[in-house]
Symmetry: C2
Subunit: 251 residues, 2 copies
């Protein structure tokens, strides 16, 4: 009997070329497919809630796949964690409805971007933050983050998608953002955004733009003009991958 | 004018073949010597308070070296941190007395060994703990740790020194341990020891022995017999490097 599985995963993305399987490259999806095959003998391609880029981390990525194997979910969790590299952990395994699909069924995703403001970056957190010890106007950055709330065309914040190969007017770049805010946790300045979906590089491009606002190169209000321009060249640069975490996916 | 410098360093030892410089290998001492040369033009060999092994971390290793360069200490700190890999950070630079030597002047060193007891090890801490989710009698481990206090011949807990090339009766393996205890920090079980010196692999061999006590393979009291035997084969195995941190050095 075929069963549909829903896996929740945490990973340190530093040494992976992103989620999506690529020939001759270490990827999270590839490592997971290999581990499932070693455990069950079945070759499947686990579907993620979305791709994360090279160097991007996940606290709770979700993947789904169908197996013939009669392995109980709790045994699958233990066996996969014995097989996977320590940089990927399965934190939960559930049996899911037949219709469940990690990407198509997703209703909301949450990302966090962590900027370390301390003058010296501990070697134990360097892989998990963007270290930026220079002055930033955090109040303006908060104002700018608020302007992202609601439904917008995010073309200005979307990279050309390497898979779909173009960034053009025919693509639907409309997304709805439910929350978008900066908070302080000691020396960490953390941006957290939840939305019904995120375009390629979107969170990192938003953060890169908010950083321009924080440095005074852009006003917070300019974010509204950047949306209207619908042009990637109007927004800020892509912030480094190390600071980004996929925090969770809601279904 | 020659000045003697005292550097305090933190490092993630995962990707280094230990402190001590070796041809064709990434070492902390080698990376530091290279960075000093790039910054000042002077080739020196910084002396550490002691060698740490491959994979062992430091929160506050101390190194000393003499420079002709007139660079102010605060600039040396900034320039070295610009030059070093992010896995090594200089946290402090002081000018020291002429007689100061990071190894010879050391009065006390403190190490910590971190064991993660959670059933699943987060990928973000896997490099910095030894993951051991199986049952342990922590009370017996605390008792055993107490027996290490004071002055002992630690031959049974000393690896054959790869540099000195032998472990023999002529070597002085007498050391004084000022504190030796286990504590709990949530899911972490942490061993902390301070002493006037530690032999090669000594903390990891003590922890490996305490783990045998925790598993019930040895009684706590057996630790006294292991000291008396003065034989490495009597003690437990060497615990993995990833859990060990050099926490600090007192002068």
């Amino acid at each position: 009997m075929q069963r549909n599985f829903k896996l929740t995963l945490a990973y340190d993305g530093t040494e992976f070329c992103g989620w999506q399987v690529q020939p001759q490259r270490a990827t999270v999806q590839g490592a997971l497919a290999d581990a499932i095959e070693r455990v069950t003998g079945e070759r499947v391609l686990p579907q993620g809630s979305g791709r994360t880029d090279a160097g991007v981390h996940a606290l709770a990525q979700v993947a789904s796949f169908v197996l013939d194997s009669p392995i109980p979910p709790e045994n699958l969790l233990i066996a996969l964690n014995h097989t996977l590299p320590v940089s990927i952990r399965v934190t939960r395994v559930d049996e899911a409805e037949e219709e469940f699909h990690a990407r198509h069924s997703a209703k909301m995703k949450t990302y966090e971007y962590r900027i370390l403001r301390a003058s010296i970056c501990s070697p134990f957190v360097a892989r998990y933050v963007y270290h930026h010890p220079y002055p930033l106007d955090e109040t303006s950055m908060r104002d700018a983050a608020g302007l992202v709330l609601g439904e917008h065309d995010f073309t200005s914040f979307a990279a050309v998608d390497p898979e779909r190969g173009k960034q053009d007017d025919e693509k639907d770049n409309q997304r709805t953002i439910f929350s978008s805010e900066w908070r302080r946790e000691g020396d960490l300045l953390v941006y957290r955004a939840s939305g019904d979906g995120f375009l390629h590089h979107m969170v990192r491009n938003l953060v890169g733009t908010f950083l321009l606002v924080g440095k005074g190169s852009l006003t917070a209000e300019a974010v509204s003009e950047i949306f209207a321009a619908r042009s990637r060249s109007e927004a800020g640069p892509t912030a480094p991958a190390s600071g980004l975490f996929l925090v969770g996916v809601e279904y």
